[in-house]
Amino acid sequence: MKRKFLSLVRVMAVVAMLVAIVGCGAKEQKTGQSETEVTKQGAVQTTQQSQSDKRIVGFLEKNEVDVYHVALNSAVTKVLKKAKSDGVIADYFVMDGQSDPVKQNNQMEELINMGCTDFICIFAEGEGAVPIVTRAAELGANLVNVDSMAANIDDYEQFVRVNPDNTAASNMQADYAMSLLDGGGYCILSGISGNMVAQQRHNGVREVLDKNDSWKLLDEQWADWDPEKSVKLMEDWLSLYGDNLKVVFCGNDTMAIAAAGVCNAAGRDDIIVIGIDAIESAINMIENGEMNATIWQDSNLQATTAAEMLIELIKGEKVDHYIEIPNTLITKENVDKWYAGQPE
């Protein structure tokens, strides 16, 4: 009896603590003061510190574990860091979405609580991002969507999206294969089923090759962007289809590298392996002749442009709603183009 009473008291104490904090916090918010407010240039502060003067950028990352996204993230934070030191923005905060749309929705609320007035976002899922974009619109904030788009981003003309056309990227993969061969059997390794980017990178290949009778789809599988799954699938395909298999289209380089490794080890370097993303390890393999090609979507350009566009919006400039990042086919012949586009 006493034990249960004590445990109840304990829980009540914690709840009371939270309520007390909320009570103090509510007062804090009303005065609008914050201890962390320090002007960098030591300029004279007007007594009325209007909220609109202080721009804080919130950056929603998709994840911090994928090579492609790590590159996107660092390009964005580079621009934000400079904007902060130049005094254009007061501060910026970064959140790792861990590829979870639920977490990103939660993090959006956290960023808003932390005082963010403008947002730059790489969304984990197109559909799950819808409430985030709506929320930004409600606040009258600026939002720039990089790479993975929210399903409703085009409903808001005041927002900007900077991304490559992933369907066009896989169209390019198919066109390249057609430039090398007249026809043959092919397989497709795709990302996570249900993910918009994965779907687009898959559909583009089918779009082009379904029209052509000399090309035969042998198999298509969702390998979840996972190299291990790709290895297993590639090994199975080699035994199943043998010489009939001419081309393997991969939704990203991580899977392409794995697939190319399997083909080469089995002595099948005749198989054309094409990826997307142009990550460094893929470029190295292309240079060595171990992989055929990849599609470069210049993540550096994409992320830098996106962050710069957000700064423009903050300054009050008008920006186009859709800024398309071009897709570039990278083969052994033009790798130097890729090198030229890399950050210092």
């Binding site: 914690v14 103090c24 916090g25 914050s34 939660n106 609320e109 609580n113 089923s193």
Partner: protein
């Protein structure tokens, strides 16, 4: 005073000490963060924490029942996804506009899988870890099959209201749902005969059988409760992101188990309580929120959660050794 009485009160003190320790650690963390971060002190942030832990909290409450019987359920993350997809299917194809039919269908599906888990574990005495590891895959696959891998935006304003609406303009509905479920769980587990049976099975299964407890029924009930909780959590999650997605919920079982363990629930069964679990869930929420506010890398968040579980399990072992 005879020896057995001495051991009992010492044991109670040890249990209390462990539980107090967790509660005090949480209070210390809240005080610490309040001093360090002005944003942490705001009402918006406190409500945010409560909102964020709501769906995981509901999962943790369900997991508590399962763990007290000495079992575990690894399939709840997948259940969240299946709930989401089923709800989406109902609202777009089968019964558009009828939210409650959709919700009932979604929860019915998770209850079905909960029963399946419970049946295999109780009837055939299979290891819960193995069974739910398998159903985790089956359910995830089912989520992909039902939606054909696609994600769907759900525009129903009634659905949105569940996850984003607020009572009295301040308390989000998911928080209220969580507190109601926690209260019901408290009554069930601590105030009813059924609750005592749950502890009995976890404490000593053979003794429970000898005492005439219908172990099969009670265990089934525990996994069905877990299924119901997973269904409700899935609906709240779906509402918050306004989308039916087959690839959400990955790893959510880890958070639920962690919350239970931190709150004093033992893997061996027979030990655990609702208030401890709630403190565990709050602690995880406060830690995540604090690390976000302090802009500590998410890599460290993952490490911290693991360390927390280790510490909690060590505490559990040390306290329960005597």
């Amino acid at each position: 005073m005879n020896k057995s009485k001495l051991i009992t009160s010492k044991r109670i003190l040890q249990l209390n000490l462990q539980r107090y320790a967790i509660g005090f650690i949480l209070i210390a963390m809240i005080i610490g963060m309040s001093l360090v971060s002005p944003v942490f002190r705001t009402s918006g942030n406190a409500i945010n924490i409560l909102l964020q832990v709501s769906s995981n909290g509901i999962l943790a409450i369900g997991m508590l029942f399962v763990m007290v019987t000495g079992g575990i359920d690894l399939s709840i993350g997948s259940s969240i996804a299946l709930t989401s997809v089923v709800l989406g299917k109902m609202l777009t194809d089968v019964a558009p506009g009828n939210l409650w039919i959709g919700i009932m269908a979604a929860v019915a599906v998770t209850v079905l899988f909960g029963s399946l888990n419970g049946f295999m574990i109780s009837k055939f005495n299979m290891f819960p870890f193995v069974v739910t590891l398998a159903t985790q895959l089956v359910i995830r696959g089912a989520a992909y099959i039902v939606g054909q891998g696609a994600s769907v935006t759900l525009v129903s304003p009634k659905l949105r209201a569940i996850g984003t609406g607020k009572a009295f303009g301040t308390v989000p509905y998911p928080v209220i749902i969580f507190l109601v479920i926690a209260f019901i769980a408290y009554i069930l587990l601590h105030k009813t005969r059924f609750g005592r049976y749950v502890y009995a099975i976890g404490g000593n299964r053979l003794s429970a059988i000898s005492s005439g407890i219908n172990v099969f029924r009670v265990q089934m009930a525990a996994y069905i409760i877990m299924g119901i909780c997973a269904g409700i959590a899935g609906i709240i999650t779906t509402s918050r992101i306004s989308a039916a997605q087959p690839n959400i919920g990955i790893g959510y079982e880890t958070d639920a188990i962690a919350a239970c363990v931190i709150g004093g629930t033992s893997f061996s069964g027979g030990i655990g309580n609702v208030s401890g679990t709630m403190i565990g869930i709050l602690m995880i929420g406060v830690i995540y929120n604090s690390m976000n506010l302090l802009q500590i890398s998410s890599y460290w968040q993952t490490v911290t959660k693991g360390v927390l579980i280790l510490v909690a399990v060590l505490l559990d072992l040390l306290m329960n050794k005597k």
